[in-house]
Amino acid sequence: MTAYLVAVGIVALIYMLLTLGLNLQYGYTGLINFGHVAFFAIGAYASALLTLSGWPMAPAFAVGTLLAGLAAWPIGLLSLRLSDDYLAVVTLGFSEAVRITIQEERWLTKGVQGLPGIPRMFQSLGIGEYAEIATLALLVVVNAAAVALVVHLVRSPYGRLIQAIRDDEVAVEALGKHPARLKVQVFMVGAALAGLAGGFYAHFITYLSPDQFLPLVTFYVWIAMIIGGPGRTAGAVAGATILMVFLEGSRFTRELVPGVSEVQLASVRIAMIGLALILMTLYRPQGIFGERKE
């Protein structure tokens, strides 16, 4: 049971990192990103492949994070030219393109066969099952650091300006500012956080395959952000936790309700999430932590 709770905690914290990144992009800056999972995948595969080829874990993580951030650069530039609806389609398309590339470039990624035997974090220390607890602890520290950085950023003049961009970009330009530079940077920082989350995921799951990086992951991160309230860092933390409780909780319902198959349950789960989202938008559009607007 402890092992199970630790595992759930790790996944929740990975989602939290993803949510912090998306929240910076959408919640604070208003950038639509429906391809978040792509940067998660890039971070995961980069770190996995590098450690499998003998790199130590820390630099592999760093490269994965950096690559994910850099991969967002062209998308950030595109975001300057596209309206929100087109950007939604382009980012979604980008994430599918990344997934299909992973699937097709078998020489590198082993395609659908998947990438087994990725070194587990803290495995080399020989501490057995405590390796997972150590991973959990490290994730707590990394999330705390990420929260501290995001909070510092959004409370700075930089953070004020990105929120101004979210509220009215035309006005920001009329005041002598350049929204473009900030938008591209925020896209990259958010993607780097997703890349970092990807590294943790790869070295926790130890097996990667393209079907782990479906748009559904992006969807879950959006849900976590919306539950918590876009533009609230505490909301991102809470949203990811609530999402995880819900996803894991619905797993137990199968045992409570006999005769439901895994596939059926998956559909029910998505339907439930859809329902929750509709209720949220109707009754608490500002998220659980957002303040009520008149």
């Binding site: 003049p157 300006l161 005041l175």
Partner: protein
């Protein structure tokens, strides 16, 4: 509100433009005599000083429809100018062409003699040409104070690296800008609502907020698009007083689009009348409004 509402001391940010704000000799027409308008303008000032703003032959068509059709106007340093015209006459479109939100199909715009036709809106703003919008574009989820601070001229706190690597410098600059913002908030009677989210302000307060925001730029010229629309008469008087005061003490020139002819007439020294994309009359406000063509086109002969 009396002159008491004016903040003490220097209103412009320290190290701001070396433009001739105070004490510049001003002729009856409001033109500075000999005083250079900006650091780079000394050479031009030796000749006849160029107008602060000049638009010539501006054209903007949407589809086949010419919203602005060969419009020209000129604004002198420190001058108060009004633009009136029926709905859809092309006034706001003309503002967008001058401030850079729209690119003209033809024509040019100069600021202090420099061609700015191809500059981005932000480049124009940094040169001292600021504007407000007909439908207020406040930053809804920022506080009123943060709305002003967001407009503070480029500070190091707007670069990612400085935010993390030079926090003390960022804080010091922020404190300096906050002091300036505080004085403008007091000047515009917004101090009491400084901590409210801007989205919660009344229409009139939003107009004031937009004015406060552009004042943070220490501009030479402010374009106001319908500052009195939806504003109660008392507040209209107050905003007018503020505009006059900024003009007199800071030397800021204004171009004001308004449907409220009474309030506008008392404020400006020059008036343009637009109709169907064209300027049909210009000059002294009283004379222009008495013009038969204006009465017919603008008022449909109502007056």
């Amino acid at each position: 509100m009396s002159a008491k509402g004016r903040p003490e001391g220097e209103l412009l940010p320290p190290g701001g433009k070396a433009r001739s704000a105070k004490g510049a000799p001003v002729s009856a027409k409001g033109r500075p005599e000999g005083a250079p308008a900006s650091p780079g303008a000394t050479a031009q000032a030796a000749r006849a000083a160029p107008p602060l703003l000049a638009a010539t032959g501006l054209v903007k068509a949407f589809g086949g429809f010419r919203a602005v059709d060969d419009v020209a106007f000129e604004v002198a340093e420190r001058q108060l100018t009004g633009i009136v015209g029926t709905n859809g006459a092309g006034k706001s479109t003309a503002f967008a062409l001058v401030a850079g939100q729209l690119a003209p199909d033809a024509g040019s715009v100069t600021l202090g003699g420099d061609d700015i036709t191809r500059l981005s809106p932000s480049a124009r703003a940094r040169r001292g040409l600021a504007r407000t919008f007909q439908v207020p574009r406040e930053f809804t989820h920022l506080t009123v104070r943060d709305n002003l601070l967001a407009a503070a001229p480029r500070t190091s706190g707007e670069t990612l690296s400085s935010v993390f690597l030079q926090p003390r410098r960022v804080r010091a600059e922020e404190a300096a800008q906050a002091a300036i913002a505080e004085r403008w908030l007091a000047f515009l009677n917004l101090a009491a609502v400084a901590d409210l989210h801007a989205g919660k302000l009344s229409g009139g307060q939003k107009k004031l907020l937009e004015l406060g925001r552009v004042l943070m730029l220490a501009p030479r010229l402010i374009l106001l698009d319908e500052p009195f629309a939806g504003v109660n008469p008392v507040l209209i008087g107050e905003i007018s007083a503020r505009i006059r005061e900024l003009n007199a003490t800071e030397g800021i020139a204004f171009v004001i689009i308004e449907h409220n002819l009474e309030a506008l007439k008392r404020l400006v020294s020059q008036l343009y009348v637009m109709d169907r994309g064209r300027v049909i009359a210009e000059g002294d406000p009283a004379a222009v409004l008495a013009d038969a063509r204006v009465q017919e086109a603008y008022m449909g002969g109502v007056i």
